[in-house]
Symmetry: C2
Subunit: 303 residues, 2 copies
């Protein structure tokens, strides 16, 4: 019989604790997400079924979503008996010490068809968090610091209402080797080029998603997240193991023949900040950078 | 002494009529826009001054804006005496029979710093119009039909709350030679490829703007419009005379280091609809299109 356990590396969403129902994982790389009792659960199931049967979704795009293995009745994490769960790929099971960021995309988390009560609650939250200004908000983070220290996992609340500059600092800490909880040290960004850059890195993956969002008029994604994962330990030895995935689909609606401009705008905003970190290479890490004064703004060296 | 007159070809914005103050033009190609009395007037002046002095705005982008010639006290259109006016380029003075579309960009026309009253009014209007769903709304239109018939100029209200399909129909009528007020005939789209397509057409110009909006963190544009103009009479004889301009800058705010994801999203939504019309070429005009069955999806002809 399969053994279920509470995931070690969940950074956002409902978590199993204090008698609350939350997701479970098993040893074979599966992630069991309890179906929410209102229509959110059935909507998320319907979305996964649609996504994995719709032939107009390109394979390279389907790969950004967790693999879907239907639904299953398993014992709930709160001990309340059997409960239906979505059976999904556990996105972090192949990582030893995953550094994870959950970024809820869109300046607006509500959709026109929602109830007025839901719209007003989201409207308020979007204004109180960075969603409105940045087009996204951070909704979860853990950074692996070292075997000795373990993970830096700031309070979710402290992440939700950051300025562009603050988010950029977090995005730098995410790819740095020095202690992320210290504000004294500039993040060294030693993993920036291997995690964010390169033909297989985070930026390339986000741009691939962007190209699809500029064109697709199948789904509109509200309150969905981009999940960014990588493993520091193996990043320098091998090529990048950074992965971008999309998660949380309880609020997907039909497009009405229009692109998802709300998601696309937020995605482009995130892309811009990550691009800036890559092109700001001179600031971080400063130690290993040669003098720049002989270079003009095009990067041409006149010597 | 300069002679001022009421413009023939204004499709959106406050118009001079019934004792209301509105813009004026002169014979030399200038457009005089009365400064609005609250801070909107001074904000628009400040924006133009900033735009034309900010060296980080590329010249190709500055060309999308009306040329700015300062402010001037001239007699108001309502006869109420001297009033300060923005002195701008008259964007349509070089066209004999301009077909014009005014498209207010952004699913959200309000900005966080605005008053709560203003936010609530815009929030309501954005939900009541197509802004929320499409990421833009049509706020003015005139299509030149023929010398005999003159212009088709639908009521503004009838344009503001269209579905994606309805907007696409308007965008087709805009580049068609047959009567736009008839719903019986399919628009023939004879001007589609010369106006929307080509290296200098509407789509190319919108993509040039999009590239800038993906990168610029100088301004956020709320309630600004994309103005599309061309002249049917000369379009078939010469190369495209279609122009894309940006207008209305009473609600420009600083970026906070973030791209204008709200404007960018709406712009991409418009771009997608225009791209579809160009790639739907087979539907319109069907009569002049050769059989397509020998072409593969890449447009390669195997004969």
């Amino acid at each position: 019989m399969a053994m279920f356990k509470i995931p070690d590396h969940q950074v956002a969403g409902h978590q199993a604790s204090n008698g609350m129902i939350g997701p479970l994982i098993d040893d074979s790389g599966l992630f069991f997400k309890p179906l929410q009792k209102d229509d959110r659960g059935s909507k998320e199931v319907a979305f996964y079924k649609s996504l994995f049967s719709n032939t107009s979704v390109p394979d390279n795009i389907r790969a950004f979503f967790p693999a879907f293995h239907g639904t299953q009745l398993i014992p709930a994490s709160d001990g309340s008996g059997l409960h239906p769960h979505l059976v999904l790929q556990d996105l972090v099971s192949s990582y030893v010490n995953p550094s994870i960021m959950d970024i809820k995309i869109g300046s607006r988390t509500w959709y026109p068809q929602a109830s007025e009560d839901y719209i007003q609650r989201c409207f308020k939250k979007d204004r109180e968090t960075s969603s409105l200004a940045l087009g996204f908000r951070l909704s979860g983070l853990q950074i692996h610091v070292s075997q000795k220290v373990g993970y830096w996992k700031p309070e979710r609340r402290s992440l939700q209402n950051l300025s562009a500059e603050d988010v950029k600092l977090i995005l730098k800490k995410y790819v740095s080797s020095n202690a992320p909880d210290s504000d004294a040290d500039e993040p060294d960004c030693v993993f920036a080029s291997s995690v964010y850059g390169g033909s297989n890195g985070v930026l390339a993956q986000l741009l691939e998603l962007k190209t699809w969002f500029e064109d697709q008029t199948i789904y509109h994604f509200y309150s969905s997240s981009v999940l960014m994962v990588y493993d520091k330990e193996t990043t320098l030895e091998t090529k990048s193991n950074a992965a971008i995935k999309l998660v949380d689909f309880a609020h997907i609606v039909e497009s009405g023949g229009v692109i998802d401009h709300n998601f696309l705008g937020g995605l482009c905003s995130l892309i811009k900040l990550i691009s800036e970190i890559l092109s700001d290479g001179h600031n971080c890490p400063a130690k290993t950078c040669p003098p720049c004064s002989d270079e003009d703004s095009n990067g041409n060296n006149h010597r």
